[in-house]
Subunit: 198 residues, 2 copies
């Protein structure tokens, strides 16, 4: 064995992920990725013979795997919906660093490159998340149709709050989203936001 890994695989992935989430696929240059990981460009190519595309693919796959175990699986538990959701909210907050980190599903999606290397995974991820949220809403007592609508709205709000947080340079929109998520998914309609009517 010639040399030991100077940087651990997991931290390489974390650094790459950070860059892609910040600047997107085309925005990420190899120089940037090398600096972020602490590896030289050639070393990166040793670990990712497929180049930048493979890096992004593995980062995406890794993020989706994390999502599956930390977000989707907890949503399918037998625990009471409120408890499940509390777990998920906590994990979401950590995953997006309180709104400071963007979502790969947004940063890697390019409509021009439909059928790009990411589009299938992205589409599947959106569908899976909607499904998981909808399951929770069903368990909370909503019928199938209403549950699906609530789930879709929740995903929109998640993505939209991240976009807005990025645009405003403030994590407030994301925090607002997290705070409202229980109501959006399981709350009664009247409990929504306005203390006005009722």
């Amino acid at each position: 064995m010639a040399r030991p890994q100077s940087v651990e695989d997991s931290v390489v992935m974390a650094s790459l992920s950070c860059v892609f989430r910040d600047v997107g696929y085309e925005g990420a240059s190899l120089a940037m990725l090398a600096q972020a990981t602490g590896l030289q460009k050639a070393s990166l190519y040793h670990r990712f013979p497929g180049g930048k595309q493979q890096m992004a693919e593995e980062v995406l796959a890794s993020a989706l795997a994390w999502y599956e175990t930390n977000i989707l699986a907890p949503l399918r538990t037998e625990e009471p919906p409120t408890e499940r959701l509390a777990q998920v909210v906590k994990h979401l907050d950590g995953f997006y660093s309180g709104g400071k980190q963007a979502c790969l599903l947004n940063m890697l999606a390019s409509p021009r490159a439909e059928f790009g290397p990411f589009s299938a995974a992205i589409k599947g991820a959106f569908e899976a998340l909607v499904l998981a949220f909808a399951g929770l809403a069903r368990d909370a007592g909503h019928d199938a149709r209403a549950a699906k609508l609530r789930a879709e709205r929740a995903v929109m709000l998640l993505q939209g709050s991240l976009v807005m947080s990025r645009g405003l340079g403030s994590s407030k929109p994301f925090k607002t989203f997290l705070a409202g998520l229980p109501d959006d998914l399981i709350g009664t309609p009247a409990a929504h936001t306005t203390p006005t009517r009722r």
Copy 2:
């Protein structure tokens, strides 16, 4: 006068806008922009001495101006809120081509380049839109705090629905958003989505 403008200014801007909305700032190459406009690269530089950055800046400014007259101004009319909103929904549908075109506020925002040339304009645009939506919600009878919350949620849903439409390759999420916008901004809480409880 040497040669006439072979391509009108307004159509140049439209073509540039289209490219930036599709692939973002770094994703757009001059070759791409030249082909989209029908001009040569050198001709583009004649109109935009500041290069790609100036093109993006002017495209953004132009889009924001359009937004001001076609979205924000109608929201501030004296007409009944429902009518104003109908106008706005129609314009939004056109502006985003039914969800097929992304939003520049999302595509040009890069958290890495905070204080980039676009961030100030983007931040201002988000704030203005929230303000305008909130004004409508107030006129519909909601108190200031509730109106602001509804407005923020509406902007999140707008951005999120666009992200989701792009990711799924379907305009359905955006259409769902448009359909629900009246309820979200002016509707009573109970009218929301679920026919289940109440």
